[in-house]
């Protein structure tokens, strides 16, 4: 690990100022992803600003009937919250389907959103990667990789976003609250946080340097059932080949793209009376397939059909209860 200096922030404003004013500075919260990458020298911050003790770890009811989840709320805390489990079950399900108990105890809501891809070529520092070094080339494209994107990929990068939590949040129409380097709070849809790779895959979000995520805001839950389902190589503690979050009529897909993917075409098709298979055929009509990831099309299609059925059954059971 490269040497760095460290400071602990006592308030959000001070944390933002410290990152803006110190060359090579980064925020650290749970650290479960950043430290892993620092050990591999994929991440080489010169200064760490510890935001883990900022008083933004609570989960509050909003006036609109939703929830505001502080960015420092751990994954375990969010998944365990009785309001989340009762009204946003898809979020609780998504969180507990990811990582391990130890990691969920440390990982934060804000950090989960900003975690980096698990593309094996991103992790292999002996291979070129446009995320690690812009313009370096992409070894994954010529390589062997099943866990690559079928939607929104580019000639520079075929990596996928690894978060389960973010997929559920996108289906729930969550918004992100941030504090900017100028000291302004802003709030925007989570769908607008992450970027597609294009020719700048090293830029993964639309946050400006030094901008700190302070909260995730959930609107009131949509009518209808909610369900999360994930397909992976192991029964536990593995990233998704494909995952699906259903929240009422909204569908979000994980494991298929550089960002959590809101399936707007499939949603529209379903609203028009299409079957889940027809809806997914429309959603995936522009999918760019490789020999090794083509299995994701039938996998995601069947996952969506099964998960919609589960969500409907769950909604029905809720009415009967």
């Amino acid at each position: 690990m490269k040497a760095f200096t460290y400071e602990r922030a006592s308030d959000a404003r001070g944390a933002v100022e410290a990152v803006v004013n110190t060359p090579g500075a980064r925020f650290i919260a749970g650290g479960t992803n950043l430290l892993d990458l620092m050990k591999l020298e994929i991440e080489q911050p010169q200064h760490l600003v510890d935001v883990s003790r900022l008083p933004i770890a609570g989960i509050e009811d909003t006036d609109e009937g939703g929830l505001r989840i502080g960015a420092m709320a751990t994954n375990t805390r969010v998944a365990s919250d009785s309001r989340v489990r009762a009204r946003y079950r898809v979020l609780s399900q998504a969180i507990v389907s990811g990582a391990s108990g130890q990691l969920r105890n440390k990982a934060t809501t804000g950090g989960n959103l900003l975690q980096r891809t698990r593309c094996p070529y991103f992790y292999d520092t002996s291979k070129p990667c446009n995320k690690r070094r812009p313009g370096d080339g992409c070894a994954a494209i010529a390589g062997h990789i099943r866990e690559s994107a079928i939607l929104g990929a580019s000639t520079a990068c075929i990596a996928v976003h690894p978060s389960d939590m973010a997929v559920a949040l996108v289906a729930l129409d969550a918004e992100v609250e941030t504090l900017s380097p100028a000291g302004h709070a802003r709030r925007f849809p989570l769908m607008e946080l992450h970027r597609l790779p294009g020719d700048t895959p090293h830029l993964e979000t639309h946050l400006i340097p030094g901008e700190l995520i302070t909260a995730v805001v959930l609107p009131p839950p949509p009518p209808g059932g909610q369900q999360y389902r994930k397909a992976r190589d192991r029964a536990s503690y593995a990233t998704a080949h494909a995952s699906v979050a259903i929240a009422g009529g909204r569908i979000a897909l994980g494991g298929l793209a550089h960002k959590p993917w809101r399936a707007v075409d499939a949603e529209a098709a379903l609203a028009d009376g299409a079957s889940p298979a027809e809806a997914m055929a429309r959603e995936l009509k522009d999918a760019a397939l490789r020999d090794e990831n083509a299995f994701k099309v039938p996998l995601a299609t069947r996952l969506v059909a099964a998960t919609i059925a589960e969500a409907q059954a769950q909604a029905g059971a809720g009415r009967d209860a």
Binding site: A3, Y6, T32, L35, L48, S80, R85, A99, N105
Partner: protein
């Protein structure tokens, strides 16, 4: 950087390079070699310790971020002459072969029972229902602890036994 951590009930003051992980602080500075360095990347769970009663991977946390925290390693759970019920259960059920992962397994198992008691949900159950103590739940909740000798069935038996003994 001066950092004070209460380790197994005793306040320990250390002067640390910020790069020092909690695991290295325990092993190399405090000579507590119970927590093991397996993968050093949060994948194997051999470094699992309790911080303020919550299990984490000590390898994926900076020691300087734990100033003021209370850390419990396997050495703080029990000793040869006063074994923790989970340690006794692991012995009784032969829940290890080489033993390298065992300190992490035991710390994790103790925390898993606390998490079930605190109604933390898991992928093996319905998040709408109260967390339950079943073998299936334990297999899911212990998935962050790898045992390459594959003593998994005995580990689950041991945890179920310890849970019965302590409940």
């Amino acid at each position: 950087m001066r950092t004070t951590i209460t380790v197994n009930g005793e306040a320990r003051s250390l002067d640390l390079d910020p790069r020092t992980t909690l695991l290295d602080a325990l092993r190399e500075h405090l000579k507590l070699t119970g927590p093991k360095k397996g993968c050093d990347h949060g994948q194997c769970g051999a470094c699992t310790v309790l911080v303020n009663g919550v299990r984490i991977n000590a390898c994926l946390s900076l020691a300087v971020m734990h100033d003021g925290d209370e850390v419990t390693s396997i050495e703080g759970l029990g000793a040869a002459d006063r074994l923790h019920p989970m340690q006794q259960a692991f012995l009784k059920h032969d829940a290890f072969q080489c033993g390298y992962c065992t300190p992490g397994q035991i710390c994790s198992a103790v925390a898993v029972l606390s998490e079930i008691e605190a109604d933390v949900p898991s992928h093996a159950g319905d998040v709408a229902e109260r967390a339950r103590l079943t073998a299936e739940e334990l297999r899911e909740r212990m998935s962050g602890n790898i045992c390459r000798c594959s003593a998994y069935p005995q580990i689950i038996d041991a945890i179920l036994d310890a849970a019965g003994a302590t409940s």
